[in-house]
């Protein structure tokens, strides 16, 4: 079965989705302060990488990148509640693009699988996660 990335229309569709997703984050007071306006291009590029990865597209995101890329935010207080907000907006973005609930749940599970990397804590076992 083609990946959700392909079903949505590949790179151009994801580029458009990033705009929707990033706009939601920038206007949400719970997470907006983590985004430094000076580097909008860099943030858009990172989110595109993230969306490509969770949608099963051609991605070279690694857990190591995830840790390194968010360490400074963890130091500024990034925690589980913020990851929940990200996953919430990810779901809302995909819903706007017409993705069904089952597929959104799958994407959310993939996003959840990098939670420990993003928050820079030891990976838990799959069993312990539930």
């Amino acid at each position: 079965m083609p990946s959700l990335y392909e079903q949505l229309g590949g790179e151009p569709a994801v580029a458009a989705a990033v705009d929707v997703f990033y706009r939601k984050m920038l206007t949400d007071d719970r997470v907006a302060h983590f985004f430094d306006a000076v580097d909008m291009d860099g943030q858009i590029a990172k989110q595109k990488g993230f969306l490509t990865m969770v949608l099963g597209g051609p991605s070279n995101y690694t857990g190591k990148d995830m840790r390194a890329g968010h360490k400074h935010l963890v130091a500024r207080g990034l925690n589980d509640s913020h990851v929940d907000v990200v996953i919430e907006h990810l779901g809302a973005t995909l819903a706007e693009l017409g993705v069904g609930a089952a597929a959104i749940a799958q994407v959310a599970a993939i996003a959840n699988s990098v939670r420990d990397d993003v928050l820079d804590r030891p990976a838990r076992t799959a069993a312990a996660k539930n």
Binding site: A16, D19, R23
Partner: protein, 339 residues
């Protein structure tokens, strides 16, 4: 630690230090201005070694292929031999053909080049003086229509280049141009797309070129130009832009000054307006929804950053927002008062 070899000298970089910072620390008079990757005046060429990661952002593909890089963005992990870029013939010789005052602190410079200088109006180019002093300026003229390249230079207190242009530059003086670069220019097509152009100070220069270009191209969508200044004296090209607004029903020209009263005796023209107050508050109120718009932002760096974020949140697609922050040389560190 990485060692940089430059014109017979070797400089060992401190951990995390940029090539430019290392050269300056060693007392080498390396060309630079913004130190933040915006102006491209610190351009250099890799002779031996790897091009440092992230040091080629904003450079055109042909320049990347030649191993050109920005020293202020370069944090090499291995040894690097570098040279000035001029040996590659990247510069086009030019002659000053006109110097004129546009306002109390803005000078219009017109140049003709010895060879064709391919660019779009609104892009920026690096102006190189005969002694090597280099600064970047946006092109206000329209290639294909104007026979010269026009730049608007604001006189900065103690400014090396702007001071020279305002006081000493003469018709006939030789300079050189390098570039162009930047994304602020008109792209033909999508004629019905509304355009919003916001600039402060000489940020008007590229916007003027884009407005002329769009109108020449037969743009049918709205074209909204907003020029911001500290006070009334900061507005220039008022007659030209007011006339344009008279002639074109889809072009509107607004001025916004932070303080003072509007004293101008210029008769009110259709589709022109003057506002007193903060520029960002003004545009936020005037353009609540930018979905589908193309937005150009030029001038004051902090304002450009803030408006870029606003334009995106107001609905403009990220690929439709083009910005040039006129980042200048950082102020020197204050000397200690005891000495």
């Amino acid at each position: 630690m990485a060692v940089v070899h430059h014109e017979g000298r070797s400089v060992e970089l401190a951990s995390g230090e940029s090539v430019l910072d290392g050269l300056l620390r060693a007392g080498i008079d390396a060309p630079h201005s913004c130190r933040a990757g915006h102006c491209q005046t610190c351009l250099a060429r890799v002779v031996r070694g790897d091009v440092p990661v992230g040091s080629q952002e904003g450079l055109k593909p042909t320049w990347r292929a030649l191993g050109l890089f920005l020293t202020c963005r370069a944090r090499p992990t291995g040894d690097l031999e570098m040279a000035a870029p001029d040996a590659l013939g990247l510069e086009v010789g030019a002659r000053i053909v006109d110097v004129a005052r546009l306002s109390h602190d803005v000078v219009r410079l017109r140049l003709t080049t010895d060879a064709p200088f391919e660019h779009c109006g609104g892009q920026f180019a690096t102006l190189v003086r005969s002694d090597g002093l280099a600064r970047s300026y946006s092109v206000a003229s329209l290639p294909g229509r104007d026979e010269f390249i026009e730049m608007h230079v604001r006189l900065v207190t103690n400014g090396a280049m702007s001071g020279w242009i305002a006081r000493d530059a003469c018709v006939g003086d030789r300079v050189a141009l390098r570039g162009p670069a930047g994304e602020c220019f008109h792209v033909p097509g999508r004629r019905e797309q509304p355009l919003l152009l916001i600039g402060t100070g000489t940020g008007l220069a590229p916007l003027r070129a884009i407005v002329h270009d769009a109108l020449r191209d037969g743009h049918t969508g709205r074209i909204q130009l907003v020029h911001g200044a500290l006070d009334e004296r900061g507005f220039y090209l008022v007659d030209e832009l007011s006339a344009l607004a008279r002639e074109h029903a889809n072009f509107e020209y607004a001025r916004c000054m932070l303080r003072g009263e509007h004293l101008s005796t210029t008769p009110a023209s259709p589709r022109t307006s003057v506002h007193v107050g903060a520029l960002d508050a003004r545009v936020r109120a005037a353009f609540p929804n930018l979905k589908g718009w193309r937005v150009f932002l030029c001038g004051h760096p902090e304002l450009v950053v803030a408006l870029r974020k606003w334009a995106f949140i107001a609905g403009a697609a990220s690929k439709d927002i083009h910005a040039d922050a006129f980042v200048t040389k950082p102020a020197p560190l204050p000397r200690t008062a005891t000495s």
